[in-house]
Every structure is written in structure tokens, then in C-alpha cells.
């Protein structure tokens, strides 16, 4: 079943894709990260981006955000080239430690999602409308109970929900999330995964979510993008994440294991991937310190 047809053709939505890549290559300077990427992502689609460390998952998001130019090929976001500050894209970067002394309320972060890219101090007249939109976003992510608490006292899961509120407050059509499940406990991972899926389907957003572990996402995923060894492949999880497919794709002895709960584990790619791309060049601005 896995090899019946090319994985690329599975699951594309009927209307015009929100994200389209054609023969795209990415790199920093003269060092290639991956190439030959062709894919379409449509409205309401939930796609996980998987792959070993340093394989270029964040690089993909940086290209879509217009922060990095592809070295070859064409990228289109809603039919136009990527540009920095595109209001159609909501972005949650990898979470960095928050200053525990910071006493600003969580809602201030959410508010900046709407006003932070506008110049000036803002007029007092817009405060009520702003407050209403912030409250709506906070309710949509289920963060009412702690949205007003000081940022420094919030837990990882709480911060992640507020970060989602910050992105959806601007009504984006595309959500790009970089490792939103990292350093969360399993209950929170499942909770955030379901929340993102609900938001995506209720608002018709396309979601691209970088993850280390596909398992909390399996119930809600439409497709996965697998990035490793300079290549990028897209398809349904059952088609892409198989021993045969990954082994053939990466020319390596890759094994996909399943446990009794249906959870998947990929073995054989993590150790290999360091060789084609020296780690010093691979992660120039990808991991904020």
C-alpha cells in the first residue's frame, strides 16, 4: 500500500494551495541544507514537519516567513512570493526561557500579536476593541484562567497556549509552529496538538508544525513532511513513516517500530544525518540561544 502511488499526490485540498513549493533548494551560503522540495499545502490542512536535528526543519519555516531566500526554485504563499511580516502567517518560534521576574501580564503578549508591528503608542480610543479581540483569542485557546497572570509565573503549556493566542489574534491563514510540543509533558503535548487541530479546522488555517515526536500528533495529522539527509518528502503518515519508504529515500537502513499503542519510532536516521552537512554550518540562526 505504501508504494502504490507517489506520496506527493495524497491529500491535497481541492482549492488553490496556501503554500506551494516547486523544486525549492535551501542553504546557507554555499552549504546546501536540502533541495528538490515540491509540495502543496491547502486550507485547513494539518502538516507535521519531522526529521533529525539539524536536518533543516526550521530552515523550511524561515523560507516561508521570508527570513531566508531559497537558493533555487519558487515558493508561493497565497499565490505570492514570501515576504517578511506577511500578516497572513502566524508564527510561534521555539520557546525560549522566560525571565521569571517578568511581571507583565500574559495578555500583553497576546496584544502585541495585533499591535506590535504598528508604529506609535496607539490611541486610547481603540482600547476596548483591542481588549475584545484579545479576549476572544484567549478564550479560543482556553487560557482565560491565567491570561492575566505575570508571564514569569506561567508554565510551559500555559505560555504555549498564549503564544498561539498571540498568533491567531491577527486572523492568519497559515500557522507555522516551531517545536511547540518540546519540553511539555505528555498531557500538555496532546492538549496542544488537539487545540492546534481545532483552531486549524474551525478557522480554515493551514498548519505546519515542527515536531520531534510524531506520536502525540498522529490522531490529528493530515500529512507529514519528513526532512533528512538533504531531502524533503511529504505524504500521509502511514505512507511516509515506513521502514521501506524511509530506507529507500535516505539510502540507509531505517527501521520504523510500532509499539502496542500504535506509537511509531524511527531508528537509523539520527546518527547518519550529521555526515552530509557539517553541524557548524547547518544551524546558523536556527536555534535561538
Amino acid at each position: 500500500m505504501a508504494n502504490a502511488r507517489p506520496a506527493d499526490d495524497v491529500g491535497t485540498m481541492s482549492d488553490r494551495p496556501l503554500i506551494a513549493l516547486r523544486d525549492v533548494a535551501a542553504g546557507y551560503g554555499r552549504v546546501a541544507v536540502w533541495d528538490d522540495a515540491t509540495l502543496d499545502i491547502g486550507r485547513g490542512e494539518f502538516v507535521a514537519v519531522l526529521g533529525p536535528n539539524g536536518s533543516g526543519k526550521t530552515t523550511l519555516l524561515r523560507i516561508l516567513l521570508g527570513l531566508l531566500r531559497p537558493t533555487a526554485g519558487t515558493v508561493s504563499i497565497l499565490g505570492r512570493p514570501p515576504r517578511r511580516g506577511n500578516p497572513a502567517i502566524g508564527y510561534v518560534p521555539q520557546r525560549r526561557p522566560v525571565d521569571p521576574e517578568l511581571r507583565l501580564a500574559g495578555t500583553e503578549l497576546v496584544k502585541l500579536g495585533l499591535t506590535g508591528s504598528r508604529w506609535g503608542t496607539g490611541l486610547p480610543g481603540g482600547a476596548a476593541r483591542l481588549r475584545r479581540r484579545v479576549d476572544e483569542a484567549v478564550t479560543a485557546v482556553g487560557a482565560e484562567a491565567y491570561a492575566d497572570h505575570p508571564i514569569g509565573t506561567l508554565s510551559g503549556g500555559e505560555l504555549q497556549r498564549l503564544a498561539l493566542a498571540q498568533t491567531i489574534v491577527g486572523d492568519p491563514e497559515i500557522l507555522l509552529l516551531d517545536e511547540p510540543l518540546a519540553s511539555l509533558d505528555v498531557r500538555n503535548q496532546v492538549g496542544i496538538a488537539h487545540l492546534v487541530a481545532t483552531l486549524a479546522s474551525s478557522r480554515g488555517m493551514a498548519v505546519m508544525l515542527i515536531a520531534h515526536d510524531v506520536n502525540p500528533l498522529l490522531p490529528v495529522l493530515d500529512r507529514v513532511i519528513y526532512v533528512a539527509r538533504g531531502k524533503l518528502t511529504i505524504g500521509r503518515p502511514d505512507d511516509v513513516i515506513t521502514s521501506a519508504h524511509l530506507s529507500r529515500l535516505y539510502d540507509a537502513n531505517v527501521e520504523v517500530l510500532r509499539d502496542s499503542h500504535g506509537r511509531m519510532f524511527v531508528v537509523g536516521l539520527d546518527d547518519e544525518v550529521a555526515h552530509p552537512h557539517p553541524p557548524t554550518v547547518e544551524r546558523p540562526r536556527m536555534d535561538p540561544c
Binding site: 516567513l65 527570513l67 517578511r84 511580516g85 506577511n86 500578516p87 502567517i89 508564527y91 510561534v92 518560534p93 521555539q94 525560549r96 525571565d99 521576574e101 517578568l102 511581571r103 507583565l104 501580564a105 500583553e108 503578549l109 502585541l112 500579536g113 499591535t115 506590535g116 508591528s117 504598528r118 508604529w119 506609535g120 503608542t121 496607539g122 491565567y146 492575566d148 497572570h149 505575570p150 509565573t153 506561567l154 508554565s155 510551559g156 503549556g157 500555559e158 503564544a163 498571540q166 498568533t167 509533558d185 535561538p288 540561544c289
Partner: protein, 320 residues
């Protein structure tokens, strides 16, 4: 000018009547006190607005470094016979540009700033040996000379104030975004790098103004302490900036008033008030803490406790 101050304070030995109108009248009787209050008020407002962002951006060290780089400029200005204020402004702007270029998240930033700082203090020692005038020139730069401030200085400070406040109002929201959430701000099209450089240039202007009041060494009391207090107390940035300005005004006004009636130097009084307020805020925080930790952060505690428990239950490798 300084001798006039000494004369006034020494001979007539004024004392407060505790009648506010009368005391204010008395405080503002002499031109040097009016200049001091005008300059001090403007500086307090600038320092309050800029200081909150200095603390929020964790740039206290950079702000301090800028004042000492400016000090090199000021002593250079004196040594080569042009104005100390222009030397101060020029060098701190230059330093600001360099520090801004380093970016916010660069790991070696503090070391880089420290190297520039050490070199500028070396320059100071060179300039001061060249300039063999009285050492009180250097002393007043180090500790401020607000009671000897001239009308021209007041104008320089007023113009710096207008420029600073106008720029801060214009960049307020993007700067807040870039300070709290740099990666998202960058992706949303906020020019984070330009803002970082621009902000340090504004800090340089604020430093130049504040040095006239509290001097190079005591600048933390106006540029950092109110921000540190506001960051610990306020839930919204608007309130934090307001508290910052209010705190700086209280420090400066009280310092000037007390110095008029006593023999304590202004710099000492302002820093002492700032420090005392900071200590009070920290103590209040400690007193409030127990109720907060049980409430909001129990999620993290709950996650940590079982982990510790399981660690304790794991047999150590060498045990058997």
C-alpha cells in the same frame, strides 16, 4: 557657580518651614535651583521612559558602559578644548552604534562591551593627564554637578528630552514587541536590528542628559533602578513606564530638596533614595511570594516532583 552654592547653603542655612507653598517658593528662589529643578525634571522623565526598556531588554550593562564611553568623550572634549557635553554625546552615540550593531542575542556581547569599556576608561586616564587643569572637572563628570548647571545646559537637556520622547513614542509598540518577543517580532516584519541600534542611540542621548544630573558613576540610579522597580510591580507596560517616570521624579525632586536644606550631595541623596526604594520593593516581593508560588506555578512544581521521585527510585549504577 559652585562657590555661590556653597555660600548660599553655608551662610543663610535655610531650613524647611513645612509650608509647601513657602518651601517651594524658597527652593526656587535662586536661579541655580530653578535650573537644577528644570534639568532634573526633564532628565527624570527621559530616564524613566528609556530606563524601563533598558531593564526589559536586559541592557543595564550596555547602558552603564555607554556612560563610561561617554565619559571618555567628555574628558577628551575637555583635554582638547571643546565642550565636554559634545564630547560626551559624540562618544556615547558612537558607543551606542557599536553596541547596537552587536545585536541582542549575541552570546559574547557582554565581553565585547567590557572590552570597549576598559579601553574607554584607559582613554580617560590619558585625557586627564593631558588636561592638567583642576581635577574637579573630572569629579563633576563622575558624580554630576546639577547645582552648577547653566542655562545652556538646560537647553541642551530640554532638546535631548524632546527628541528622546518623540522617538520613544514613535517606536513604542514595535520596541516593546522586539524587547519581549524578538523572534516573533522579526517574523512579523518589525525591523528588530534597526530598533536595537536606534534604541541604543536614544540611550546615549538619555545618558548624556542624565550625566549632567547624577554623573557617570551614579547613572544607574536613574536609568536602571526605576525600571527594575517597575518591572517587578507592573502588569502592563503603560503603567510600568508611568511608574518609572514617577519614581525618577520623586528621586530627583526629593534629592534636590533635601540637598538644599542639608549638606548631603545630590548624587548621594538620589542614589540612596533609589536604592532604598529598590530594597523596599524586593522586601515586599519576598513577603508576597508564598501565596503566588502555590497558585500559579504549581504546574511546573507538579511536573518536577514525580521526576525527582522517579530519580530517587532508580538504582544507582554502582550499587550492586
Amino acid at each position: 557657580m559652585l562657590s555661590a552654592v556653597a555660600h548660599v547653603l553655608g551662610s543663610s542655612a535655610p531650613s524647611p518651614s513645612w509650608n509647601v507653598i513657602h518651601d517651594v517658593h524658597q527652593l526656587l528662589h535662586y536661579a541655580f535651583m530653578r535650573h537644577a529643578f528644570t534639568a532634573g525634571t526633564i532628565v527624570a522623565v527621559i530616564a524613566g521612559v528609556v530606563g524601563y526598556f533598558v531593564v526589559l531588554r536586559q541592557s543595564s550593562f550596555a547602558a552603564h558602559a555607554m556612560s563610561e564611553i561617554g565619559f571618555a568623550g567628555a574628558s577628551g572634549g575637555v583635554a582638547f578644548g571643546f565642550s565636554a557635553v559634545y564630547g560626551l554625546l559624540g562618544m556615547s552615540l558612537l558607543g551606542a552604534g557599536l553596541i547596537g550593531l552587536l545585536g541582542k542575542r549575541l552570546r559574547g556581547r557582554d565581553a565585547a562591551i567590557g572590552s570597549v569599556l576598559a579601553f574607554s576608561l584607559g582613554l580617560v586616564s590619558y585625557f586627564l593627564t593631558r588636561y592638567k587643569g583642576n581635577a574637579s572637572g573630572a569629579f563633576s563628570l563622575l558624580f554630576g554637578e546639577i547645582l552648577g548647571i547653566s542655562v545652556r545646559d538646560v537647553w541642551v537637556i530640554a532638546i535631548s528630552g524632546i527628541v528622546t520622547l518623540a522617538v520613544m513614542a514613535a517606536v513604542y509598540r514595535p520596541l516593546l514587541f522586539a524587547s519581549l518577543d524578538e523572534d516573533v517580532a522579526e517574523a512579523r516584519g518589525v525591523p528588530v536590528r534597526a530598533l536595537s541600534i536606534g534604541f541604543f542611540l536614544i540611550v546615549a542621548v538619555a545618558v548624556t542628559a542624565a550625566v549632567q544630573v547624577v554623573g557617570v558613576l551614579l547613572i544607574f540610579s536613574l536609568l536602571v533602578v526605576p525600571g527594575a522597580i517597575a518591572e517587578r510591580l507592573c502588569r502592563t507596560p503603560g503603567r510600568a513606564v508611568a511608574l518609572c517616570v514617577a519614581a525618577s521624579l520623586v528621586f530627583v525632586w526629593s534629592g534636590l530638596s533635601i540637598t538644599y536644606y542639608t549638606k548631603f550631595p545630590v548624587g548621594f541623596l538620589i542614589t540612596a533614595l533609589a536604592f532604598a526604594s529598590y530594597i523596599v520593593v524586593r522586601l515586599l516581593e519576598v513577603a508576597r511570594r508564598p501565596s503566588r508560588t502555590t497558585g500559579a506555578s504549581h504546574g511546573t512544581a507538579a511536573a518536577v516532583v514525580p521526576a525527582l521521585g522517579s530519580l530517587a527510585g532508580v538504582p544507582q549504577p554502582g550499587e550492586r
